[in-house]
């Protein structure tokens, strides 16, 4: 006998053209999602649009930037018409420099120990709690974890952070820098992020006759029966746009009919 109703988790609708369809409605609320991608694959733009769409719906959002200064990040993102600087000015999108956060916490050292990691988690969680953040981006978790030398400590850091943010109802995107997005690649720099995350979105390039096509693929998302197909993406003025990648065009040159 079929159950009379099927339980579905509430979703954080990303608002990104095509992504919610892939996720069958959005990211389950409170998830920690790893957005892993190669350089230039569109990770930061995707993450920023995720925040902008949330801000447009009246949600409080936060962005922790560790890879570039916030001024530079905002200058780069201003070229997109979906972004409005008013969202920053009015406090809907809050951008934090991780370097400044380190200074506040007195974490001016080359490597972090357990206490430092706990201090960092507490600072992030306090900010999320105080502002009432429901969408959070950490760009990138790779840079953040460089100072944590033990794999076990990285695991604890991400697990505890994810758990505390989920308790606060915050949906988090952790950006991960990877050097390859092929089938055999790891989706994280330290190998532990992918196991902790509730979801993994991989972004990279497919080479077709010397041209690079950006792709996005949701390889894991707990709590939703999502598509796992490779999608082609374009970064447009209006935001990220997606369409399923052609089946005959999704293989790399070496595997394709054109041969190596």
């Amino acid at each position: 006998m079929m159950p009379s109703s099927v339980y579905t988790r509430d979703r954080c609708v990303t608002g990104i053209h095509g992504l919610d369809e892939i996720l069958r409605g959005g990211i389950p609320y409170g998830s920690t999602v790893l957005a892993a991608g190669t350089c230039g694959s569109g990770k930061t733009t995707l993450a920023m649009e995720f925040l902008v769409r949330g801000a447009l719906a009246g949600e409080a959002c936060a962005h922790f930037t560790a890879t570039e200064p916030s001024v530079k990040l905002l200058e780069n993102i201003r070229q997109y018409s979906f972004f409005d600087m008013n969202m920053v000015d009015t406090g809907l999108i809050n951008v934090f420099d991780v370097d400044v956060l380190y200074s506040w916490l007195g974490l001016d050292k080359a490597t972090f120990d357990l206490d430092d990691v706990h201090a960092l988690i507490k600072a992030i969680v306090d900010i999320v709690n105080t502002i009432g953040v429901t969408r959070l981006v950490i760009d990138s978790v790779t840079t953040l974890c460089y100072k944590i030398k033990s794999e076990q400590l990285i695991r604890d850091f991400l697990f505890t952070l994810g758990k505390k943010l989920a308790t606060l109802g915050c949906t988090t995107v952790l950006i991960s820098e990877i050097t390859s997005a092929t089938e055999n690649a790891h989706w994280s720099s330290f190998g532990v992020e992918e196991a902790i995350a509730d979801g993994i979105i991989v972004m990279g390039d497919v080479e077709r006759m010397g041209h690079l096509l950006r792709f996005l693929q949701v390889v894991k998302m707990r709590g939703t029966a999502h598509s796992r197909a490779k999608h082609s993406i374009e970064l447009t003025q209006l935001g990220v746009m997606l369409t399923p990648m052609l089946k005959w065009g999704a293989v790399s040159d070496q595997q394709s009919r054109w041969g190596a």
Partner: protein, 194 residues
Amino acid sequence: MFELDALIAEQLTEVSLNSAVQVRCGNSNSFVVTASTMLPLIQSFGMGGVYISASRGAVEIIQAFESIGVDVSNIQFLDLVSSGILGGTDVPYPNVHFVDSPIMLESVLLRTLYILRTSTFERNFVFVDSINALSIYNDDRMLAEYLHTFINTFRQREVLSVLINVPDQTPPLVLANLDLYCTALIDRGQVVIQ
């Protein structure tokens, strides 16, 4: 004096917005057929749209229209040719957009959708010039698959698809799929040379 094929305009009155029209032509009459198809869409039906140019650069096409007194400044051109030519993208027309190569078919679809999202016209078309030019660069199976996606995407959005094609320069697999997916055919492919 440039003479349009008036029968094409007549045939176009019978198609709806969610149609996909294959327009067959030959090498020698391709511009007459193209202009005879475009003009009614712009002037009689008041449509906006995207002209995807894979056979020639957009500037050349715009200037060809200008030479017969047709204003195409409200039509957006997606040029798949000029990025392959050094300096080819430095053009004086603000309604020309570029995709790096005709092999980036998904980018062509997404760029077209993006342009249509910014369109101020109530009714729009996508005009592909031409399927045979796309088949020069793309594998038959991939192009056949693409036509399926492309045509259905725009049919679903009630955007008229017009696909120019020189049939004797198009691979059989692509041609068969084009015949299958298109809902209407305007055939000017049989050109009698006197």
